[in-house]
């Protein structure tokens, strides 16, 4: 098991290094581009050369890469061009806001989709299964930006129950979290519920469940004791990997509802070509994604001993 964990961790670090190199090459290797973005299009050639000199841009690219990487490891991401402040000061609070949104989404989506998936998978092809499956496939088919428009139309314009934007301009307001969370929950729910249903339906056809039913065990006990435990293994990975998907989803939702989170910041940084901020945001999202993948792999190894030996 230790060897398995070590191997996964090594792969994680390797992936992050390759991605960091990729991010660096894509955005920074062209020093001339960076300086125009920092000093603006009307700076003189002299100013640009001076700035490049002072910030070490005449060093070979590989030295700059290691300096950049080293800076990131100690939390120094450089200066944001747009906000005129250290990237770290801008980014961490935004990441906190997104973590809060993600927490709300997971706290509601995970139990909801597990229950729906189990109910649907218990009796494959039954009325309940048909209903839940249809609802799940519909909610995964509506892209986040479309469901944001449609939900805003219903709850903001027609009913007037909820605020249209979630900028939290006058301090924290839980009502403003409802719509962004609802959009993300709807999209994620369908996917997780479908996975849960498939896993449950699989287990219900297994020999040990058939045996348990045939030996006269009460149905409720069969479900709780035998079916559920085994059915929960596969969706565990799916649920953890939803964090990766959520990093994409928050870009759309935060942009739509003007929520001051990480996704909106990343989009803003890329649209204004705020190079250091964009690099930092891209790296943070990859680090989050890769570490959750590693956690999912290792956790799956714990739950299902068979995969450790393949």
């Amino acid at each position: 098991m230790l060897k398995f964990i070590g191997k996964r961790l090594l792969m994680m670090v390797g992936t992050m290094l390759v991605v960091s190199l990729f991010t660096f090459l894509l955005l920074e290797v062209n020093g001339e581009n960076v300086v125009v973005k920092v000093l603006g299009p009307y700076s003189t050639q002299e100013q640009r050369t001076l700035w490049l000199e002072r910030n070490g841009y005449f060093e070979p690219a590989y030295i700059r890469y290691f300096q950049w990487l080293g800076g990131m490891l100690v939390g120094d991401f450089g200066q944001s061009i747009k906000y005129r402040a250290p990237v770290a000061d801008v980014m961490w609070p935004r990441l906190g806001n997104t973590a809060l949104l993600a927490l709300v989404v997971f706290a509601i989506m995970v139990p909801m989709s597990i229950i729906a998936g189990v109910l649907a998978g218990m009796r494959e092809g039954g009325i309940l299964d048909r209903g839940i499956s249809f609802f799940a496939i519909t909610t995964t088919s509506v892209p986040e930006f479309a469901s944001a428009v449609l939900l805003a139309y219903v709850f903001v314009i027609s009913l007037g129950w909820l605020p249209a934007t979630s900028a939290m301009a006058d301090g924290f307001d839980p009502l403003q979290l409802v719509l962004p969370a609802m959009v993300l929950i709807l999209f994620g729910f369908g996917y997780v519920a479908r996975m849960m249903r498939a896993a449950m339906a699989d287990v219900m056809q297994s020999n040990y469940v058939r045996t348990a039913i045939l030996k006269g065990m009460p149905y409720r006990r069969v479900i709780m004791r035998h079916a559920l435990r085994n059915a929960l293994i596969a969706p565990f990975t799916v649920i953890i990997l939803q964090i990766n998907w959520l990093l994409s989803g928050v870009i759309v939702v935060e942009f739509f509802f003007a929520y001051r989170g990480f996704g909106a910041l990343l989009l803003d940084a890329s649209l204004t070509q705020d190079i250091y901020l964009l690099q930092a945001c891209a790296m943070v999202s990859v680090v989050v994604a890769v570490s959750t993948q590693t956690i999912a792999d290792i956790g799956y190894g714990f739950l299902n001993p068979r995969v450790r030996f393949t």
């Binding site: 496939i137 088919s141 509506v142 892209p143 479309a146 449609l150 890329s270 891209a282 990859v286 994604a289």
Partner: protein, 292 residues
Amino acid sequence: MTDLPESGVVKAATKRKISLPKILYSPVGMAGAVICSFSMLVALFAPLISPYSPTAQFTAFLTPGSTGPGGQVFLLGTDHLGRDVLSRVIWGARRVLFFAVLATGSAYVVGVSVGLIAGYYRGWLDDVLSSAANVVLSFPVLVLYVVIISTFGASAFNIVVAVTFASAPGIMRIVRALVLDLRNRDYVASAQTRGEGAFYIMFVEILPNTRSLLIVDACLRLGYTTITIGVLGFLGLGLPPPQPDWGGMINETRAMATFAPHMTVFPCLAISSLVLGLNLLADGLRESAQQD
């Protein structure tokens, strides 16, 4: 006892015969097929069925079903620039589907070729290609799109390249896993014995046998690509205006949704129904493939 092998043959023959229209027996798959072909037909015949040009300007903010000053009828109303919403939704279908099919197709060409090569040759080549695929797949997908498109600019070509870059690794992994299984089959060994080249074996012997899984995957992926093109348009990184695409239409008009929601709601319904159709079709195809 004696008719056992024969019944097996008969069974195989009948199975083969009904394998194509079997989708007809799955109501879910049929519903998907109907929705998809409706969108395809609308896209194909856009010049014939759209009442007006998608960029022609009439009176702005007309509500659905109202009549313009010249006596024209606007079934879905007009937008903030006075353009007919119905015509824009129809032409949007053409543009979105064209680029979704093009981008998904190019991702498939790359993904299938690389997957075949990695799975067939194995060894260090497979290791390199597989790790490269893992690196690309470790990006949250929209982060990757936003970074690529904002760096290289929003154009149709860049969108196709970005979708290919982001989707091909996923396709490659599926194909590679299938090839690792199929390459040990007897028909591959017999082709090798009669001296066929590696590329003939990969593309003529192995590839056709991966089709049932790849068709399901292609339907799902076409749905993802449609969403991607929509999302990029919505974020202002999509296909350039003034030609309509659904995501761009939603982004342009959403600020005015309080008093003219029809401009935003119809493109939303259009993209959602197309993706739903593709997902239902994939579900139906998967079901009928599992029954074999």
